[in-house]
């Protein structure tokens, strides 16, 4: 699946997008956050407070317990500050 990152999540990870191939044990958005956190310092910093992270699956907001199976694109970003 493709992962895209925005705002300070993007800055901390150091890239705006990448391809991910998580193992089958990674079933939900929350699992994916934990799995990504182990990929290095930038990821650990970006995801240090999981409650501060918002996610979307295929461009629709998704909760931590949402299943990632079948999703083509996952996005991680901070709470929105538009308007």
């Amino acid at each position: 699946m493709k992962a895209v990152y925005f705002a300070w999540v993007r800055e901390r990870i150091g890239k705006s997008e990448e391809e991910l191939d998580p193992p089958p044990s990674v079933a939900t958005v929350a699992d994916l956050v934990r799995w990504l956190s182990d990929r290095g310092e930038g990821y650990a910093y970006a995801f240090e407070k999981p409650a501060a992270i918002r996610a979307a699956l295929d461009r629709v907001h998704a909760r931590p317990e949402a299943e990632i199976a079948g999703a083509k694109e996952v996005a991680f970003f901070p709470p929105m500050t538009g308007g």
Binding site: R59, E73, G83
Partner: protein, 154 residues
């Protein structure tokens, strides 16, 4: 029915609001809201607005659909800009048309409250010396403002 735009360019707020009533005899009320960039007492030279290109327009459209389900509207326009925006410049417009002012005021406010908490945009403040100050933090007040529409209130 809704007009949704996510764009770098400025917009003509008056023309957008007027267009909602143009050529119609059933519109009794148009309410529009324009959000501007403030200079925060001289501490801010500009805002840099990042957005999620694939999702921003779709999410604004989903929010608009919810607002249209809730209120009997005759028209709805939402425009949100991205990129660098200086003090005094427009950031966002919501405008709604209805038969009566009550639903027009309420729908415009609900639309704006939902846009703030759901549309994938992120603001970064640029200081007068050109340094990026950091990302604007989400406000709990905005979450509360959006949540009050969910309880069926408003």
């Amino acid at each position: 029915m809704a007009t949704i735009r996510v764009q770098r360019e400025d917009f003509d707020a008056g023309a957008e609001a007027a267009a909602l009533a143009q050529g119609r005899a059933d519109v009794g009320a148009v309410v529009s809201f324009v959000g501007y960039c403030r200079d925060e007492g001289g501490r801010l030279a500009a805002l840099e607005l990042e957005h999620y290109p694939g999702m921003a327009e779709a999410e604004v459209a989903r929010v608009a659909e919810e607002v249209e389900r809730r209120w009997p509207l005759l028209g709805l326009t939402a425009i949100h800009r991205y990129g660098r925006i200086g003090p005094g410049e427009r950031i966002v417009l919501v405008a709604v048309a209805a038969a009566h002012r009550g639903e027009a005021f309420a729908a415009a406010e609900m639309l704006m409250d939902y846009l703030k908490t759901r549309a994938p945009f992120w603001k970064r403040a640029i200081r007068p010396d050109g340094v990026a100050e950091g990302w604007v933090e989400a406000r709990h007040d905005d979450d509360r403002a959006a949540a009050r529409w969910e309880a069926g209130g408003g």
